[in-house]
């Protein structure tokens, strides 16, 4: 059979040569017959033969490609073979194991057993994660991007649950143990207080003021939560960053990505499939256009540049004005919410919620304005989207920061409680806003579009798109509020777990019932870094807030009494035995810190040089690859010219006879 193949390819080669005599590039070198006999190609050839012959039932082990079974410890299910081949391989390994003696075979089987146990445990834990089925359904209809949003949401829920557990263990249980329930007067109950966080909630475990007498537990709990969150987020960000760095300028693989895994194999819905087709087409065309656009940019004249920069300057100025305007609006909202006049209770509720309402409305409207503005700036589409996103991040965190600053500088008898109350209100209001957005705006839009598909209004409004980045931004914002508030309102993680659960189901409803996916492909990995970076910014913001507050806290009403966070630590250290005290004082001394910093510098330097060496090796290996392949090509060409000459000479001989 191999002979036959060779002769056909030989004929192909010879007919090729008669068509275009002499020219060496008339055929691609990988179509020549010697190429098919190269060991690297042979792997594949042989392996196809195995596929064809195994059904007869013969176990031709020798036919297995050498590269596939190099490592006898590799699990069988990791091999790209069909079932029968895996079975044969397993039998062969078994026989080999009999040959190598008792001890080694026992060790191998132990290894296999351990691996299976690990797999089982891993499966058990991944089985604990909820909503697998829901996510699968969403994935089938909208692809990986929308699913990534829900996975992120689930991650935040898990994070908050973990925080809840820590709070219960460190803060809630000890304080309930210390405090008898008689202290806690529960008169004055009304539904209004649930929204305002006042009245009976004021002295409840919800807020900072409740936790007296347990400063150490309280601070350990809070510290654990914040540092655990920091570690988790930094870890996830580093993973994402590594991929982004790898994908960055050193290895530019943009187009190849889009082609090699452009298709989302999870998609089942035919409509979604046709959408995906058009996404990919648009994306590819966009890329090509971007290439042309870059060329156009490089040809721009001086005057055009000047005009463009002028326009961009004006638009940036507009953006800054809008931001400042929204900040002032929030300032006035806070001022007017401060006025304590006796109104009807509905007006009072509204006044109390004025700052959260303003923040939410501003955060809802301005990103749309930003995306309109960035259209005029003549950037390319990806830059436009990123610019809108960055501006929105700035807006969201900025408004929150302004709000926090104004609350902090107000003088109250129990400033911490007030602060906790504001964060509580923000959290509650966000839930309400999400509810309203889902059922009053998105759902009604959808109903309108379904009932009167031909009406002008419906066509003008259109169907809502599920814009993933903005939705993720909302989640980041809510998590930031939770982190900032957790110190002053320790039950906030619990509340936000419930809130996120509600948001999960509402967003699921939005996606499944009301939305079409956004008109742009969304790559998880490329944006994951940005999202986690935003999350990190929020966390840093909460660190700063708590740090600033802990310095300026004077007559507090919480666990600290008249102390600051640091003096409590000092007092605690003094109660320890002498040996522990000396250890702690050594650890905090300059000598130890100096040694620590030195060690860190050394470790970092070694890592940096390691990275540099690796990069150089990669370059060298690439060069070597190119060299090898050109050698291969040269040899193949030489060989086929030689073959052709021999064929021709034999032909002339035959003619001569």
């Amino acid at each position: 059979m191999a002979d036959e193949q060779r002769s056909t390819s030989f004929q192909r080669l010879s007919s090729d040569s008669t068509v275009s005599t002499g020219s060496d590039d008339s055929y691609e070198y990988y179509q020549t017959d010697i190429y098919e006999q190269l060991p690297s190609t042979l792997t594949k050839r042989r392996w196809q033969q195995v596929e064809q012959t195994y059904e007869v039932g013969s176990c031709e082990y020798d036919l297995l490609p050498p590269s596939i079974d190099r490592d006898p410890h590799q699990p069988l299910n990791m091999l790209p073979l069909c079932m029968q081949e895996k079975r044969n391989l397993r039998d062969r390994r078994h026989q080999e194991r009999l040959r190598i003696g008792f001890w080694a075979s026992w060790r191998q089987s132990q290894q296999i057993a351990r691996r299976r146990l690990r797999e089982q445990v891993g499966r058990f834990f991944s089985g604990l994660l909820p909503w697998k089925h829901t996510l699968h359904k969403i994935e089938g209809r909208f692809g990986v991007g929308v699913k990534a949003y829900f996975v992120f949401l689930r991650y935040l829920i898990c994070l908050n649950l973990l925080n809840c557990a820590i709070i219960t263990g460190f803060v809630l249980v000890p304080s309930l143990y210390h405090k008898s329930w008689e202290d806690y007067k529960s008169d004055n109950k009304s539904i209004l207080h649930i929204f305002l966080g006042s009245g009976f909630l004021e002295g409840s475990p919800l807020f900072y003021g409740f936790y007296q007498k347990i400063p150490l537990f309280f601070h350990t709990g809070m510290g654990t939560i914040l540092f655990l969150s920091l570690i988790m987020i930094v870890r996830r960000m580093v993973v994402g960053y590594k991929h982004m760095w790898l994908m960055g300028k050193h290895f530019s693989l943009n187009v190849s990505y889009k082609v090699f895994y452009g298709w989302d194999f999870c998609i089942q819905d035919p409509q979604a499939a046709s959408l995906e087709h058009s996404f990919i087409r648009n994306e590819l065309k966009m890329d090509l256009e971007e290439q042309r656009f870059r060329q156009k940019v490089s040809e721009r004249s001086m005057k055009q540049w000047a005009c463009l920069y002028f326009l961009r300057g004006i638009l940036n100025f507009v953006v800054v004005v809008l931001l400042c305007g929204s900040f002032t609006l929030i300032y006035y909202a806070i001022i007017s919410a401060e006025k304590k006049e006796s109104f009807h209770w509905t007006v009072k509720l509204l006044m109390n919620y004025l700052p959260p309402i303003t923040i939410t409305v501003v955060n809802f409207l301005l990103p749309h304005v930003f995306s309109r503005i960035s259209m005029f700036e003549d950037y390319f589409l990806t830059t436009q989207l990123n610019l809108t996103l960055v501006r929105s991040i700035f807006l969201k965190l900025g408004t929150l920061a302004i709000y926090i600053i104004f609350i902090t500088i107000q003088n109250n008898t129990c400033a911490e409680n007030e602060f906790g109350k504001e964060m509580y209100k923000l959290t509650i209001f966000q839930l309400l806003a999400c509810f309203c957005n889902t059922f009053l705006i998105v759902y009604l839009k959808r109903l309108l579009a379904e009932k009167y598909p031909s009406s002008k209004l419906a066509r003008m409004i259109g169907i809502q798109e599920f814009v993933i980045p903005l939705n993720v931004l909302d989640l980041v914002y809510s998590q930031t509020v939770t982190w900032v508030g957790v110190f002053y309102c320790p039950l906030l993680p619990g509340i936000s777990t419930i809130k996120l659960l509600a948001i999960f189901y509402m967003k699921k409803f939005t996606v499944m019932r009301c939305c079409v996916p956004a008109q742009r492909l969304f790559r998880t990995s490329s944006s994951a870094v940005l999202f986690h970076f935003m999350l990190l910014l929020g966390l840093i913001m909460s660190f700063v807030t708590i740090g600033v507050n802990s310095i300026r806290s004077d007559a507090g009403c919480g666990p600290l009494g008249n102390d600051t966070m640091y003096s409590v630590m000092d007092k605690f250290v003094k109660t320890l035995p002498i040996s522990a005290q000396t250890t702690i004082s050594y650890i905090t001394s300059e000598a130890f810190i100096f040694a620590l910093i030195l060690a860190e510098i050394i470790i970092l330097t070694s890592f940096v040089s390691h990275g540099r060496a690796n990069r150089k090796t990669i370059e060298r290996l690439k060069d070597m690859l190119v060299m090898c392949s050109s050698d291969k090509r040269y040899l193949v060409k030489q060989h086929s010219t030689w073959l052709r000459q021999r064929y021709r000479s034999s032909e002339t001989e035959a003619l001569g006879k």
């Binding site: 691609e28 990988y30 179509q31 690297s40 190609t41 594949k44 596929e51 064809q52 059904e55 069988l76 299910n77 990791m78 091999l79 790209p80 069909c82 079932m83 029968q84 895996k86 079975r87 397993r90 797999e119 499966r123 699968h136 990986v144 991929h243 790898l246 994908m247 290895f251 530019s252 693989l253 190849s256 990505y257 082609v259 090699f260 895994y261 452009g262 298709w263 194999f265 999870c266 998609i267 089942q268 035919p270 979604a272 499939a273 087709h277 058009s278 990919i280 087409r281 590819l284 890329d287 090509l288 290439q291 790559r523 998880t524 990995s525 690859l625 190119v626 392949s629 050109s630 291969k632």
Partner: protein, 189 residues
């Protein structure tokens, strides 16, 4: 559907668990779905095959532009007609399962994209691949000029040894740089 034929022996089940990435439940579900596809008279054959046309009616594959390639790659039929035995079907699901490794997935992805089965992705393969992605009709295809530019871009990026084609190791090199691939190269029943 008939339940008497859909009993999977226990030792076979545990063997499948060992040789694939699938869990017990997934294998049982696959068996049920496979038996629904199998014609009644074939069920009593020693190793029955489901023809490709029937496999393609699965909703998980129906709207996939690579469905025929997937069948061809996983089929062990001598006729190369894309028909699948139950074990082939399990191989397919294992490679596309959640827990399959990046190596396995990229290996099979390469074979699926290698339309002419010659062991490399040459410009012809790439063109067919792009056509599958954008939809293979007159008005959805890219123009020849765009296609040429695109293929040039792809080769410039991924063809490390500059031989004009993308081979398996180059392909895996590209794929290994993306964490997204494992999550999108997935078919779950």
């Amino acid at each position: 559907m008939g339940t008497k034929a859909s009993k999977l022996p226990k030792d076979l089940l545990s063997e499948y668990q060992e040789l694939t990435f699938l869990t017990k439940q997934e294998i049982l579900l696959a068996h049920k779905r496979y038996n629904e596809l199998l014609a009644g008279e074939d069920r009593h054959l020693p190793s029955p095959r489901v023809p490709m046309s029937k496999i393609l009616t699965l909703p998980e594959l129906k709207s996939n532009p690579f469905r025929k390639r997937i069948c061809y790659v996983f089929s062990t039929s001598e006729l190369r007609d894309g028909s699948l035995t139950f074990e082939d079907f399990l191989d397919l699901l294992s490679a596309f399962s959640d827990s399959a490794t990046l190596e396995i997935k990229s290996h099979y992805a390469f074979r699926i994209f290698d339309f002419d089965d010659d062991g490399t992705l040459d410009p012809g393969d790439l063109e067919m691949l792009v056509n599958c992605l954008t939809g293979d009709t007159e008005d959805t295809r890219l123009t020849p000029e765009e296609m040429r530019q695109l293929i040039n871009n792809i080769l410039e990026e991924s063809d490390i040894d500059k031989d004009g084609t993308v081979n398996l190791s180059e392909f895996q090199h590209v794929i290994s740089r993306s964490p997204d691939f494992v999550s999108s190269f997935k078919i779950v029943l």
